[in-house]
């Protein structure tokens, strides 16, 4: 189960953060913010290859004792999707994470494309992922 799903813009400010439990949100924000360092590094080292291969998943970014920050990465607009999971959550399969990021990305695109911007759908998708991913 993901415990925090932030969406970070190209300019690295948080666009959307959903976390359960909410008390830890500050901690998650610090964590996700710090992990942006690694994202920057990875993106710059990948460069063009990233775009060509369409490999948007950047993998484990910022492991700590308690949490792992995983990240998906939307190439074109440089919007970043993160997923914070408990370190104890070892059952998480890579392909499952890929799928979740893919779903998240699609849902995000849907919201962005919708002129009426119904973010509730996105909320639902995020909640679904948080509960589903386990």
């Amino acid at each position: 189960m993901a415990i925090c799903i932030p969406v970070i813009t190209k300019e690295n400010y948080p666009l959307y953060i959903c976390s359960i439990p909410t008390e830890n949100e500050l901690k998650f924000q610090y964590m996700v913010h710090t992990s942006l360092d690694v994202v920057d590094e990875k993106i710059s080292s990948m460069g063009k290859a990233l775009v060509n291969q369409r490999e948007l998943y950047l993998g484990l970014l910022y492991p700590t004792e308690d949490y792992k920050v995983l990240q998906g990465y939307a190439t074109i607009s440089k919007v970043k999707f993160f997923m914070v999971v408990n370190s104890s959550n070892t059952a998480l399969q890579d392909n499952e994470i890929h799928r979740m990021f893919w779903k998240l990305h699609n849902s995000y695109i849907d919201v962005m494309c919708n002129p009426f911007c119904n973010s509730r759908d996105f909320d639902n998708m995020v909640m679904y992922i948080m509960i589903q991913v386990c």
Partner: protein, 1263 residues
């Protein structure tokens, strides 16, 4: 690329396992021989690589074989079930130098058989028999069998079908080519056999191992046991220098163990795992300095290892192999994973760990890994791979910090007894320092021990680590991470009561979060910063941070109230230096949302009251009493700008009056949200000539805002940028309580000086604290104007018409003048313009903005000279509007417009020609002088009236009967009703009668149309030479039913001269004699008969009259002209005749004319002129005829186009004078007879001309 990386030298003394790091080969048989060959053999064997083909499709590898030769003993052979692979003898060699059959038979054979039996008993098939040939020995012996025989014997006896198991080594200790050859063959054989043995034995081993692994679900299966088995395999691979394969073994073990832990966590426990769940008692960290930590290995072997032991050992082996593989950075990465993982596993397995024990373990392990890596890399490599190691540094720092907190080393007072106890317990768990690091000064063990020994030592170590970590993060550009560590450091400093050191780290972190808009970290860091600033006594900064926090919605209500109260408490303190102001930016305190003016166009006259209502959105959680809210206003005068005149302002500035301010979102990134919205406008550029569209586009009006340099983020926090402006003009509002949320605040001001006022700053003061909004943007301005009183008079219609009542609008703009009771406009009456006073005249009084209006009665008093209009009372800056009817008396310019009968009016025709053809009305200007109460000077107003009619007259004759025709043309847009037309003779000829031939007394005259009136002139006595007439006709607009006043009739005066007919001219054309009709081309005769109709009259008395014997005669000139070229006049076309002035005197003229066309042709014109002799002063007299025939001839022929008989006379004379002057010759003058005096009785008659017979050409001209 890791050239300098070398595996640790095998430390054979310390590690028992290292002795067996090469393949074991046993030697049996001749021990002396074996010993002598051994050094060369062990040296030569690894020299050349050998390809190792492997099972399970694994890639073949080239390996160098190294061997350890031991003497054969039966104990060395593994017993059934022994899994030790490392000590496994892969090959058994029997050495013999025997060359003697007897000896062979006696001893060697038995020995060999025994050896083979032992091998067979242990089912070992990897053996080799080596027969060493020694020439020296051969020479000594005489009964030497050929070498081959003994070899054959041995092969025969032992190598059943395996002849290759027996080799011959010739003279191994000699240096000859044969020896060399023999060695090579031997070594190759040895290698091949060794590899075969490996393949076989390892394959078997792996199969066994797998079988064992498959049993892992069975009860009693031991991980430790399995661990040892698989590690054997790893050792063998390591021995074979196959580190990759060795590593795989450990990784598999690692994964297997991890899986068990996970499964255990999921409730699927394995019995053996509970053993690892024993409480952690030792936490002495990873040991990486030895290739094999035998102590730990043995504990695993004994199944006494804890989880940390197992993990430590496993990692130390992985580390060793990775370093062999020259992958130190992977060590660092794996180490971090391992440490995280261990902490998780201990949690998952619910292993009881004393507080701080794990921190110690992690700290020691991090440093151990780092030192291990540093030990095998040079500085440059380390520096370029900080990214890999910095995580460990950071982790170590974090752990040391938590240890410090745990052991009371961070508190101000130092550790208490409980802390000390805990410290002692922790140090006890470290045990004694390992011998291998005992001599290292900076060993992790020593560091930790020292750090925990005292507050000062801890501080030193912690600061060292933190700074090193921050520096490393910074150097590789991981600024966020660096700031995050910095924040921890700041927390430490705050605990150590050193806020001055903490501040820079907090500021740095906050700046970073602000730049990227991370709301929660911002709030949290700000809270820390507030505390720091409070301790530092930075009052302004603290108050500013407090205001930001008080408005921060991420904080709880209580926290916000606390920070708000901090500000209010400070503000309520009596200031030690009165007048000292703490200036803070406003945005965190309250935000300006919108502003609106009353009047809404933000234009007010001098002395007027202007209200500015602003909406301030208070960010504070509680109501705040504000002593005063002040808007600083910048005043500027733009006198020369038309846009600032009262007229323009009152008319053009029409906004809805509400200005919205973009919400300030300072906590969000400057790069994005702080930019104002684009103000885009459409733009059309049209061609000036035909107004067609040239270009169109979109322009951005606020480019300067969007493209300006981004201000550095620091300005968001620094109050230094805010300067309080002190201006003379302020709007002030005192004692306002700002409730949380939106507040309406109204400023009221009385406008003083005219000009433009720009709102610049908004300040709110709470005690000595001033919240300042330094710039109000978008720009907000209001204008104050002053205005002079003015009077405008303008017609309501496009143009005023004379003769009928017309409405004129009076507009009095009071400006700064106040209309008092009794103030009136005094109009000096123009003579020809009446001001019609209506009983119920009313005036409208508006305010300048046209918002209010009232109605007031208007009193108008007229006397002969002056009309006085009493104005209603009106305050300054108002507009009074009323309408008056004026009537310009109609008149027509009589006698060619020379009459001036309108007093001050100036009738004028604009252009004579234009007026004839066009429809321009004649206009008259009336100037009215008006005295206004506000000025001693009179205002002169000119009103232009147009006369709606144009009138022309004509004299018509029928023989001697005369008619006067008057044509009235309506030039205006209006329809009129004409009535009561009169034509009167203004002269005194009493016997003249004007008999109207008009039937209707009432007649409509429509717009742009004409009406004709005709009168017959009748007289009894001799008519006067001229007649003065006045035409008058009543008119009224057809649309209006009733007019309050009677209108004056329209009059037109004119003069008719010489209207009496003197001559009758009659022309006749006769066909040639004998012909019935005239024919084209044949001469016809024209007979002109001129008859005098009257006796001598007054009009005849001129120069041409000659008297002889009481008979009077006059000279006339006739002229026959055919303008239409129907006729060719043959011979003289003109002539001068002397006409007796007597009734019935007749003159007959014959002429030849030739018709040029066939048909009914009008007769040629016959004109009569009066022939005046030249003045006697002139010397010679020309023959008139010759002069006329000389015909350059522009004799006056304007009779046709000059119907205006009134001007004929004068014009004719003018012409004559001109022509005589021009020619400079004495000439007789011609004067056309006025139209009224000649009556052409044959005008209009036609003569039939038939075509001539031989005329074959028919000309048809179509025009």
């Amino acid at each position: 690329n890791l050239g300098s990386l070398q595996p640790l030298p095998p430390d054979s003394n310390d590690s028992p396992a290292s002795a067996s790091r090469v393949a074991r080969i046993t030697g049996a048989g001749d021990q002396n021989l074996f010993t002598s060959v051994y050094p060369t053999l062990s040296q030569q064997l690894p020299r050349e690589p050998m390809e190792w083909r492997r099972s399970y499709g694994r890639a073949p590898k080239m390996i160098h074989l190294e061997s350890n030769f031991v003497q054969f003993k039966e104990e060395l052979l593994p017993k059934e079930g022994n899994k030790a692979l490392l000590t496994f003898p892969f090959l058994h060699i029997y050495w013999t130098e025997c060359c003697d059959t007897e000896v062979y038979k006696a001893t060697v054979k038995d020995d060999l058989t025994k050896w083979q039996n032992i091998l067979k008993a242990h089912s070992s098939v990897d053996w080799l028999i080596v027969i060493v040939e020694n020439d020296a020995k051969k020479k000594n012996k005489t009964n030497i069998l050929p070498r081959t025989s003994i070899v054959d014997k041995i092969r025969n006896d032992f190598c059943n079908k395996q002849s290759d198991r027996c080799v011959v080594l010739s003279d191994p200790l000699k240096d000859s080519s044969r020896t060399q050859e023999s060695w090579n063959a031997f070594l190759t054989k040895l290698r091949t056999l060794l590899l075969m043995s490996f393949t076989k034995n390892l394959g078997k081993f792996e199969d066994d191992m797998r079988t064992l692994r498959e049993k892992r679900t069975e009860p009693g299966w031991s991980f430790c046991e399995y661990f040892m088995v698989q590690e054997e395999l790893a050792f063998v691979f390591e021995m074979l220098q196959q580190f990759e394969d060795a590593l795989v073994q450990y990784d598999e073990l690692d994964a297997l163990f991890s899986q068990y832990v996970v499964n255990f966590g999921a409730g699927d426990g394995a019995n053996w795992l509970t053993f690892f769940c024993q409480p952690v008692k030792s936490w002495n960290g990873l040991i990486l300095r030895k290739p094999i930590d035998m102590e730990k290995r043995e504990s695993i072997q004994r199944r006494e290892a804890t989880l940390l032991d197992l993990r430590s050992y496993l990692f130390s082996r992985q580390c060793t192999l990775l370093l062999f593989l020259q992958r130190p950075w992977e060590v660092a990465q794996r180490a971090l994973e391992l440490l995280h993982n261990c902490v998780q596993e201990l949690k998952l397995l619910e292993v009881s760990v004393p507080p701080g024990a794990l921190d110690c373990w992690v700290f020691l392990s991090c440093l151990e890994v780092l030192q291990r890596i540093e030990g095998c890399c040079d500085r440059a490599q380390i520096d370029s791979n900080i990214a890999h190691t910095v995580g460990l540094w950071s982790y170590a720092t974090e752990k040391l910090k938590s240890l410090g907190y745990l052991c009371g080393l961070v508190s101000e007072k130092g550790p208490n007894s409980e802390d000390l106890n805990r410290t002692v317990d922790l140090l006890a768990g470290l045990g004694a320092e390992r011998p291998e690091t005992a001599n290292t000064a900076q060993s992790p063990y020593k560091k930790l021990k020292e750090a925990l020994s005292s507050v000062e030592a801890f501080e030193k170590h912690y600061l060292d680590l933190s700074h090193a970590t921050i520096e490393m993060y910074t150097s590789i550009g991981r600024i966020r991470s660096a700031k995050f560590v910095g924040k921890d450091l700041a927390e430490f400093y705050m605990r150590k009561k050193a806020p001055q050191k903490a501040e820079i780290y907090l500021q740095g972190a906050l700046k970073n979060y602000l730049a990227e808009g991370w709301a929660l970290p911002i709030t949290h860091t700000r809270k820390q910063l507030a505390e720091c600033q409070k301790h530092l006594g930075q009052i302004e900064n603290y108050l500013q941070t407090s205001s930001l926090l008080a408005s921060d919605h991420h904080l709880t209500e209580e926290e916000r109230k606390h920070f708000c109260q901090e500000i209010l408490d400070f503000a309520s303190q009596p200031s030690d230096s009165p007048g000292h102001k703490i200036v803070l930016p406003m945005h965190s305190f309250a935000q300006l949302r919108d502003l609106h003016f009353d009047p809404s166009n933000a234009v007010v006259h001098v002395g007027g009251v202007l209200c500015v209502e602003i909406t301030m959105y208070s960010q504070m959680p509680v109501p705040v009493h504000v002593e005063q809210i002040v808007v600083n206003v910048h005043f500027s005068i733009e006198k020369n700008s038309y846009r600032k005149t009262a007229e323009w302002l009152t008319k053009h500035k029409t906004s809805n009056g509400i200005i919205n301010f973009p919400p300030e979102t300072t906590p969000f990134p400057v790069s994005q949200n702080n930019l104002p919205a684009l103000e885009l406008y459409e733009m059309f550029e049209r061609s000036p000539s035909d107004n067609s569209l040239n270009t169109t586009g979109i322009i951005c009006r606020n480019v300067h805002m969007l493209l300006r340099r981004q201000e550095s983020c620091s300005s968001l926090e620094m109050p230094s940028g805010v300067a309080l402006e002190e201006g003379a003009h302020v709007l002030r509002c005192s004692h306002v309580t700002l409730e949380p949320g939106a507040n309406q605040i109204t400023f009221r001001t009385q406008a003083k000086e005219p000009g433009t006022y720009t709102l610049r700053q908004l300040c709110a003061s709470v005690g000595s604290v001033w919240f300042v909004l330094p710039h109000i943007y978008p720009i907000v301005q209001y204008d104050v104007y002053s205005q002079e009183p003015q009077l405008h008079v303008e017609p309501l219609a496009d143009s005023l018409l004379a003769g009928i009542p017309q409405k004129v609008k009076f507009t009095v703009t009071t400006g700064h003048y106040t209309i008092k009771n009794g103030d009136s406009l005094q109009l000096s009456n123009a003579e020809a313009m009446l001001i019609l006073c209506q009983a119920e005249s009313r005036a409208m009084v508006y305010s300048n903005t046209r918002e209010q209006s009232s109605e007031a009665a208007l009193r108008i008093q007229s006397s002969d000279k002056v009309t006085s209009i009493s104005l209603p009372v009106a305050p300054a800056y108002h507009v009074i509007e009323f309408e008056l009817e004026v009537l310009s008396l109609p008149s027509a310019p009589a006698l060619g417009g020379e009459s001036d009968m309108l007093g001050t009016a100036e009738p004028h025709r604009k252009h004579k020609d234009k007026q004839r053809t066009g429809h321009c009305m004649v206009t008259t200007d009336h100037k009215v002088s008006i005295d206004c109460p506000w000025s001693i000077y009179s205002t002169v107003i000119a009103l232009t009236f147009s006369i709606p009619f144009r009138t022309t007259h004509a004299l018509l004759s029928s023989g001697t009967r005369k008619y006067v025709q008057v044509c009235v043309q309506n030039l205006s847009e209006l329809d009129f009703q004409l009535s009561d037309s009169y034509l009167v003779d203004t002269g005194d000829s009493t016997d003249l009668q004007l008999v109207p031939l008009n039937t209707q007394s009432q007649q409509p005259i429509y717009s742009k149309q004409s009406v004709f009136f005709v009168w017959e002139l009748k007289w009894t006595e001799e008519p006067p030479p001229s007649l003065h007439c006045r035409f008058s006709v009543g008119f009224s607009p057809a649309s209006e039913e009733q007019l309050s006043i009677s209108l004056k009739p329209y009059t037109y005066e004119f003069k008719v001269e010489n209207f009496f007919t003197l001559y009758n001219v009659k022309a006749e054309i006769f066909p040639p004699s004998g012909m019935e009709y005239c024919r084209t081309g044949s001469l016809c005769s024209l007979e002109v008969l001129i008859t005098r109709l009257s006796d001598l009259l007054e009009v005849d008395k001129d120069e041409a009259l000659t008297e002889s014997d009481e008979h009077f005669s006059t000279k006339l000139m006739y002229e026959v002209v055919d303008n239409s070229s129907n006729w060719a006049v043959c011979g003289k076309s003109c002539g001068v005749i002397s006409m007796p002035v007597a009734a019935r005197a007749t003159y007959r003229v014959h002429m030849e004319v030739m018709p040029l066309f066939a048909g009914y042709l009008p007769l040629p014109d016959v004109r009569l002129f009066k022939y005046l002799p030249h003045h006697s002063a002139h010397s010679s007299q020309l023959d008139a005829d010759s002069w006329i025939e000389n015909d350059s001839l522009s004799v006056d022929k304007h009779g046709d186009d000059q119907p205006d008989s009134s001007s004929l006379k004068s014009r004719g004379s003018v012409h004559s004078a001109c022509s005589s002057e021009h020619k400079g010759l004495p000439m007789p003058r011609l004067q056309a007879l006025p139209a009224g005096q000649v009556f052409n009785s044959s005008s209009g008659t036609q003569v039939l001309v038939i075509p001539s017979q031989d005329d074959h050409v028919l000309e048809v001209s179509v025009t």
